[in-house]
């Protein structure tokens, strides 16, 4: 992740899915392509849902790091409208 801007942080602990996805989605609206967001979660479902949401919306997962009872998903914001039907 060297050379990239410092990540913004989002605390999504104690939220059950899909709230971590919704909070991520709402935060990314105000970010620019290439920006980094680190989302701290405690619901195991977020480990699957945030990457799935990123895949369909054109964002890139950089890292998933584990902690005690929680984990952090680091993603890079993609270009808007990255995914189009029929692509």
């Amino acid at each position: 992740m060297s050379g990239q801007s410092a990540p913004e942080h989002l605390d999504a602990r104690r939220l059950l899915c899909p709230l971590p996805v919704i909070r991520t989605q709402d935060r990314i609206v105000d970010m620019r392509a290439g920006d980094i967001l680190a989302v701290c979660c405690s619901d195991p479902g977020a480990r699957y849902d945030i990457p799935a949401w990123c895949r369909i919306n054109g964002h890139k997962i950089l890292e998933i790091s584990e902690g005690d009872y929680e984990f952090t998903i680091t993603l890079q914001v993609g270009e808007s409208d990255a995914v189009q039907p029929g692509d």
Binding site: L16, L19, P44, G45, Y48, W53, P85, D87
Partner: protein, 346 residues
């Protein structure tokens, strides 16, 4: 000519998957929308429990969007949804499920979103006769009317049985390529899924809402009764999905984690509740919901001890954390099973 744009209500089930696929197949630009009410059934909510860990932990709405190759917008409607749940104009179904009001609400929200974002129409996976309350021939026009969506709402799976909508009259979709499904049989949907090559899809028995679940509705009713009012916060209804709930006295309820995953989840609420930690044996974390005095806490401790590995021991050591008060430890005799009354289980 620019493609027409449609918003698809995506629940994560087969019908909305197929409805969106039918319209995608006609060259329409489709994006999905999914609403989070707080009462939604999510596969990974259950995955908090370790014993369910073999099951897929996916969010089915996201999975459907990925299968279709469309964007999905998940909208938090928890606050607005309270009025739907508390004051349903059309009443409840078999449990606390306000299905017809809920459908009207979601179509209205989707329509507002569609208009605000420059989409031409919206579509849903409704099928006439599929559901006893919200998907009957006589109630489907109610949804159209009360949502305000009017002719902007297309139901591709049963469109041929309904008056033409805007998407058809404007030529954005070919009515002849839409469907005439009706009734509770799933065979037409399964045949269509096979045609499109969908071999895996979610088939939730009670739909996508906890409110159709008898046990969940019972817990919600208990919460309202105990508090003497029906207002609720998101944490209230999320906690109803987790743990074993027992109300040994009217003034408090004990929530016990059933395994490690639930204990981990309940641990996040310890700063908001009086709670119990079992020190001498492996066992559940217990949250106390309500105003409990020391005698109540001792009763809760004996009850919690009943569900730990020391249930047959002479004594179990428990740490009691009083919310906003002191922390103390106690040795209790686990409550014998005969003393745990059936009616305590919420």
């Amino acid at each position: 000519m620019a493609k027409a744009k449609a918003v698809a209500l995506i629940s994560g089930g087969l019908d909305s998957l197929l409805a969106a696929r039918v319209v995608l197949g006609q060259g329409v630009h489709v994006e999905g929308i999914n609403f989070f009410t707080g009462c939604c059934v999510e596969g990974h909510t259950h995955a908090i429990r370790k014993r369910d860990s073999e099951k897929p932990k996916r969010n089915n709405a996201l999975w459907v969007a990925e299968q279709l190759g469309i964007k999905l917008h998940i909208i938090d409607v928890v606050e607005e949804y309270k009025d739907v749940l508390l004051n349903p104009k059309h009443g409840y179904g078999a449990n606390l499920n306000p299905c017809l009001d809920c459908k009207g609400f979601m179509v209205r929200k989707a329509d507002e979103w569609a208009v605000a974002h420059g989409f031409d129409f919206l579509l849903s996976g409704e099928v006439i006769g599929q559901r006893p309350m919200s998907q009957r021939m006589d109630t489907m026009p109610v949804v159209v009317r009360e949502s305000g969506a009017g002719e902007r709402l297309l139901r591709p799976l049963c469109a041929k049985l309904l008056p033409p909508t805007l998407a058809e009259t404007r030529g954005w979709v070919d009515r002849e390529q839409l469907h005439d499904f009706s009734g509770r049989s799933r065979k037409p949907q399964m045949a269509l899924a096979e045609k499109y090559g969908f071999t895996e899809y979610a088939q939730p028995a009670g739909g996508c809402c906890f409110l159709t679940n008898r046990e969940y509705s019972s817990k919600l009713g208990d919460l309202w009764n105990a508090r003497g009012h029906r207002e609720y916060e998101l944490d209230d209804i999320l906690l109803l999905k987790v743990g074993r709930h027992l109300r040994p006295r009217p003034n408090f309820k004990l929530i016990l984690g059933r395994e490690e995953g639930e204990n981990n989840y309940l641990r996040g609420y310890c700063s908001q509740f009086s709670h119990l930690r079992i020190l001498s044996h492996r066992g559940p974390l217990g949250l106390i919901d309500g105003a409990a005095d020391r005698d109540d806490l001792l009763l809760a401790a004996r009850l919690a001890a009943r569900f730990c590995q020391g249930r047959d021991a002479a004594q179990v050591e428990i740490e009691v954390h009083e919310h906003g008060g002191e922390t103390w430890t106690t040795l209790v005799r686990p409550m014998p099973v005969a003393e745990v009354l059936r009616e305590w289980y919420v």
